[in-house]
């Protein structure tokens, strides 16, 4: 591409060109830990940091897009006793693979962001919960923690400032639901990962019952940039209400799948071009723009959109974690949805009846449509089962199972009807 895309590798992957970019010395060579040093030297008031986060319009990168500055302001300030900061690196949402690369290629920036978080929120300990399937990333993170401790950047009396903050890695072991923040807390406590009823919210009753803030890996790794350059600069990288750059994980039918960090608000068409375009020059059929849990959108609609929370929401889907699954015209939507429905059925923790039973119903109905046994009334049944899960469960895994079904029926209903009538696929 002739021009560098706006914001490319500006915030997170700025050191990715360095060999062994994950080593402390290399991170320091590009100004790493400067933000932390600034915070400590200037004794920046926590309120000022939170204010910069608010100005930056940084929104949670874990999927829900909740404003980070606002979330941090919920932590009780004068609480006597332990508080915790937890990083969510349990990325298990199909189509999402950015946090793994942050940990593999720039772990110290995440560590720096977490230390600034500990300082701001008054937490002495942080945990990073790392997806079970990426053991190599877990090992790399542990090595980075050791390096940081040895350099006096982590642990007691950080850089002689009197600040105490330590971080530990917690290794998951294969449960998608543990990405949900309260299930994740249960899991750190050494229990089954079953989500907690909210309220109380983690800011008042979190890990071990103590005030806790939970943020996604990419969210926390963005903090040093905001502290160093100011919230305004981060905001201007993106667009109003959608500050900064975003890492988009592009997978599926593209020539060069991978992670692309670009400005929020980058046109989808540009992102697709960065990923090498649709495989084999085929026609773009559909895109899941934010991970398997969000409604699919037809290719023609996607080509009109920009990649930010507001644009994708206006089209009836979600930016989610920025996980872009591209499908060309060879894809059978019934088959695609069957696989996703199987996933939610497998991963439902079983705590809430609508989700435990409903995900099984969804999977079985879609399975029979795919296998030529669909009945004319099945599409209404799918609508009704999905509708009966949505909003009726403790956590959003139920909604995550229902939304793909609703999106498919909205945009590709004719494919499902064809399967039912002709007992076979139309593609």
């Amino acid at each position: 591409m002739a021009n560098t895309p706006k914001g490319q590798n500006e915030v997170i992957f700025h050191s990715i060109h360095l060999p062994e970019s994950w080593k402390l010395a290399n991170y320091l060579s590009v100004g790493g830990y400067d933000a932390l040093k600034k915070v400590l030297a200037e004794k920046m008031p926590p309120d000022e940091i939170i204010n910069q986060l608010k100005i930056s319009a940084l929104r949670g990168r874990g999927g829900a897009g909740f404003p980070t500055g606002l979330k941090w302001s919920f932590m009780p300030r004068n609480y006597e006793g332990d508080k915790y900061l937890v990083c969510n690196s349990d990325e298990g949402e199909p189509g999402t693979f950015k946090d793994r690369d942050i940990i593999r290629y720039n772990p110290h920036q995440l560590i720096e962001g977490m230390i600034i978080g500990g300082y701001t929120l008054g937490a002495k300990v942080g945990y990073n919960y790392i997806h079970g399937e990426i053991w190599e990333a877990y090992e790399r993170f542990e090595e980075a923690l050791d390096e940081a401790r040895a350099a006096g950047l982590l642990g007691r009396n950080i850089l002689g400032s009197g600040l105490d903050f330590d971080i530990h890695a917690h290794h998951g072991f294969g449960a998608y639901v543990c990405g949900e923040e309260t299930a994740l807390l249960e899991s750190i406590e050494g229990k089954k990962g079953q989500p907690r009823f909210k309220p109380p919210f983690p800011a008042s009753f979190g890990l071990y019952g103590k005030p806790t803030t939970i943020n996604n890996t990419e969210t926390l790794a963005s903090i040093p940039y905001i502290v160093k350059h100011g919230g305004q600069k981060f905001l201007e990288l993106g667009k109003p209400n959608n500050g900064g750059t975003k890492i988009f994980s592009v997978s599926g039918h593209v020539n060069s799948p991978g992670n692309f960090e670009v400005a929020m608000g980058t046109p989808f068409s540009e992102l697709l071009a960065m990923a090498g375009g649709v495989r084999g020059g085929r026609k773009l059929k559909a895109v899941i723009p934010g991970g398997s849990s969000v409604p699919v959108l037809p290719g023609e609609i996607m080509m009109q959109l920009t990649m930010d929370y507001d644009s994708i929401a206006q089209a009836g889907s979600y930016l989610g974690a920025g996980s872009v699954i591209v499908m060309d015209d060879t894809v059978c939507m019934v088959r695609a949805l069957e696989r996703l429905s199987y996933f939610y059925f497998e991963e439902s923790c079983g705590q809430c009846t609508p989700c435990r039973e409903g995900t099984g119903w969804l999977y079985r109905i879609i399975h029979r449509i795919e296998h030529g046994l669909g009945r004319p009334e099945d599409l209404d049944l799918l609508d009704s089962v999905a509708g009966n899960i949505s909003g009726r469960t403790i956590c959003a895994l139920g909604d995550a199972a229902a939304m793909p079904v609703q999106g498919m029926l909205k945009h590709f209903r004719h494919e499902f009807e064809h399967h039912i009538q002709h007992k076979k696929c139309m593609v």
């Binding site: 332990d82 189509g95 890695a169 050494g190 229990k191 592009v250």
Partner: protein, 157 residues
């Protein structure tokens, strides 16, 4: 029941958490036990529970909840193939077919010589490298093709 090396590793995990919350180390302790024993027999789980001062049933609950624990013996090498959507779009089905033919087993089965177990897995958060499998819960083997699969398997004892 576990070697001193394994216990040392578990102790390192325990140290990450407040002293009154040793249970937090149960996931890692079970992983370490599984690495040593190959799988988690009920008595292994009970041992880990006692070591951490928790009820065996509570450790059993954890072992059954998370997918990467093996509650039955598995082969020397466990191959877990991701078949979720991004991987399927990139040819996971052909990779599975090839593996099944080459090893002569289906999902959930172990080769008669006890060398390989094949499992179906969910998204590993590495979809850009699809199709892929995870080897022995530790290593992601990416961009699978018949040639890469042959090479990976040939390199295993």
């Amino acid at each position: 029941m576990l070697t001193p090396e394994s216990l040392k590793k578990i102790d390192r995990e325990v140290a990450k958490y407040p002293p009154e919350h040793k249970q937090s180390a149960v996931m890692s302790a079970l992983r370490i036990a599984q690495d040593e024993k190959g799988w988690l027999a009920p008595e292994t789980i009970a041992f880990v529970a006692h070591y951490l001062g928790m009820q065996p049933i509570a450790a059993q609950e954890v072992a059954t909840f998370y997918n990467m624990y093996d509650l039955k013996p598995v082969g020397k090498h466990k191959i877990t193939v991701c078949t979720n959507l991004s991987c399927t779009l990139m040819g996971a089905e052909s990779a599975v077919e090839y593996l099944q033919r080459k090893l002569g087993i289906g999902f959930g089965e172990t080769t008669p010589d006890g060398r390989f177990t094949l499992k179906e897995g969910e998204c590993m958060g590495a979809c850009g490298d699809a199709p892929l499998f995870q080897l022995n819960n530790k290593k992601i083997c990416a961009n699978l093709s018949p040639e890469t699969i042959d090479a990976i398997l040939a390199g295993l004892d």
